[in-house]
């Protein structure tokens, strides 16, 4: 099972954002989280990525509990945050190579890289546009085998060509048995249809 979320609760002060959320993703399955702003989509994705610690509940990625086996769980996780910030002083090529080494994947040849990124690979990644930074971040997490892709608004700031490439890669990974959990807005659902997603609507939790 790529992802198993059981009874996850998250509160900020007295405000409950997630209240006992339970969700499982099977191999090859895509789940899209929908809901108005403030319903906890990014919080839930943050919990799955280990960037937000839930107050209660458990999360397991590829069978590894995120809290008790953090490294093993992360080996199977590929996360794209809502806002991509790349470390200063690093070129696009170096960022890809670091990820390839982290994931134990071969370093990508130029021919394997997103064509839009190719001419800029030796430029400092901080000089990329917002869309290109997102494409680089996605290209980095797409290296090597993975059980679960967690994507927070993956198409924000990405052009049509970039969105098509992201979907193409995701389709291939779904075919390999990975699962995809993503947050998206209604206007992006048409494109995401290609992944035959299950829609999960999050509602505001009771205060």
């Amino acid at each position: 099972m790529p992802l198993s979320i059981a009874g996850v609760t998250k509160r900020y002060g007295s405000r409950t954002i997630l209240d006992g959320v339970t969700l499982s993703l099977a191999p090859g399955e895509t789940v899209v989280l929908r809901g108005p702003n403030g319903t906890g989509k990014s919080t839930l994705l943050g919990c799955v990525c280990g960037q937000v610690v839930p107050d209660a509940g458990t999360i397991a990625i590829a069978g590894f509990d995120l809290r008790s086996a953090p490294l093993q769980a992360r080996r199977h996780l590929r996360a794209l945050p809502q806002e991509v910030e790349l470390p200063a002083g690093i070129t696009g090529r170096e960022w890809l190579e670091i990820h390839a080494d982290v994931f134990g994947a071969p370093r990508p040849s130029d021919a394997e890289v997103d064509p839009q990124l190719r001419p800029l690979l030796d430029h400092l990644a901080a000089t990329y546009s917002v869309g290109l930074r997102r494409r680089l971040a996605f290209a980095a997490i797409a290296l090597g085998p993975a059980a679960l892709f967690v994507l927070d608004e993956p198409f924000a700031g990405v052009d049509t060509d970039g969105r098509a490439r992201i979907l193409e890669v995701l389709q291939a990974r779904l075919g390999d048995g990975a699962a995809v959990l993503l947050a998206a807005h209604d206007h992006e659902l048409g494109e995401i249809e290609r992944l035959s997603p299950r829609i999960v609507a999050l509602a505001p939790a009771a205060a």
Binding site: Q51, P87, G89, I90, E94, I98, H99, V102, H123, L124
Partner: protein
């Protein structure tokens, strides 16, 4: 539209670098302690004259970043906040930072001079010598930031300012970023110069000499220049801040050079641990001339270890200065720590912090070992 009275975002002090004034003061204490023991009051005075501006330079960015460098400043640039308000908030933060740095430095000097057994007048003289630089910096550092705001912009083609940008940049840095290479050291050099007549007068008074008329006139002139610079600073800043900040952001993104950086050193590219490699790459690209500083430190350590004479105060001062020169620029890595940690958070890697700190500390350990060898050999 009513003018907002407070801008909390602009007034915020970044916690990073909080330890720098303490480290600088400790190094000054060590150097003055060693120097004073060897050569007495004259050496202590010389060290105060040379080291106080240097120590203030180490901590300069902490207190002046509110003028041009802060992320918050860039984030609030689209807001209709008047340059005078921005300057006022940055200047208040600068004054607080300078006061804190000076307090630490004065403590360091008092501590370093303690073994010399100076009388109260001589010790007060040393402290006032240092204070004179601090007071002058109150005017020259904001002035330096204001000059950076004025000259850190695209200048009209063919103008003297444009020619100066190209000449001083040597063709390897963005012309608009050139002023940021020179303004910090320039502002502290100016502070040292303005403080010089005051320091001479203080030292003469401590030694029982009368104040010379010429020296008095020089003091008055220095004071007038300092006041003039402080008054000119907000005017210069107003004329440049809205353009200088975006140019500076661009220079920070490209590390003030072309967007394609030099290739990483082979040994860094060969580091197997990807998280550690990321930190090493950042150290190589984000700190100035790391290889040169490392070679200087290690070569000096070897020379110091091999010399046969007893260890002198000057050698200790040099060793400490080179250690500081190696360590202090690495604070740039702290500034970028949050982004690096966020980028690594969801990856299956161990935090590289401990290993990176050990690598950074290793050359300093070599230098300390070489000093220890000399001390032990001298005692034997």
């Amino acid at each position: 539209m009513p003018t907002p009275r407070r801008h909390a975002l602009l007034a915020e002090v970044p916690p990073v670098h909080a330890a720098l004034p303490v480290v600088a003061a400790a190094l000054v204490a060590l150097a003055i302690g060693a120097g004073a023991r060897a050569s007495g009051l004259p050496a202590a005075r010389s060290l105060v004259f040379a080291l106080v501006p240097a120590a203030l330079l180490v901590t300069l960015h902490v207190r002046t970043s509110g003028f041009l460098h802060d992320d918050q400043l860039a984030a609030t640039l689209p807001l209709p906040i008047a340059p005078a308000r921005r300057f006022g908030l940055a200047a208040a933060r600068h004054a607080r930072g300078l006061a804190a740095a000076m307090l630490w430095l004065l403590g360091g000097i008092a501590l370093g001079a303690a073994p010399l057994g100076l009388g109260a007048p001589a010790l007060c003289g040393l402290l006032l010598d240092a204070l004179a630089v601090g007071v002058a910096s109150l005017a020259t550092e904001p002035f330096g930031a204001a000059v950076a705001a004025r000259l850190g912009r695209r200048q009209p083609p063919g103008s003297w300012a444009e020619q100066l940008q190209h000449k001083l940049g040597g063709g390897w840095t963005l012309p608009e970023a050139v002023v940021h290479l020179y303004a910090p050291a320039g502002s502290l050099g100016l502070a040292g110069l303005l403080a010089l007549p005051v320091q001479l007068a203080i030292d003469r008074a401590v030694d029982g000499h009368a104040l010379l008329v010429g020296l008095g006139a020089a003091m008055l002139l220095a004071a007038a220049i300092a006041v003039g610079l402080r008054l000119a600073a907000p005017v210069l800043y107003r004329g440049g801040v809205f353009e200088a900040v975006p140019w500076l952001r661009e220079a920070m993104r490209t590390l003030a050079g072309p967007p394609v950086p030099e290739r990483a050193s082979r040994w860094i590219a060969a580091v197997a641990d990807p998280a550690l490699r990321l930190v090493l790459l950042q150290h190589e690209r984000l700190t100035p001339a790391p290889r040169l500083r490392l070679v200087l430190l290690l070569a000096t350590a070897v020379v110091l270890a091999l010399r046969g004479t007893p260890l002198s105060a000057g050698e200790v001062g040099l060793a400490l200065a080179l250690c500081a020169l190696w360590l202090v620029p690495a604070a740039a890595l702290l500034r970028h720590g949050a982004v690096r940690r966020a980028a690594l958070a969801a990856l299956p890697v161990r935090s590289p912090t401990t290993r990176a700190r050990a690598l950074l500390a290793a050359p300093v350990a070599v230098m300390l070992a070489s000093i220890a060898i000399r001390v032990l050999r001298g005692e034997a």
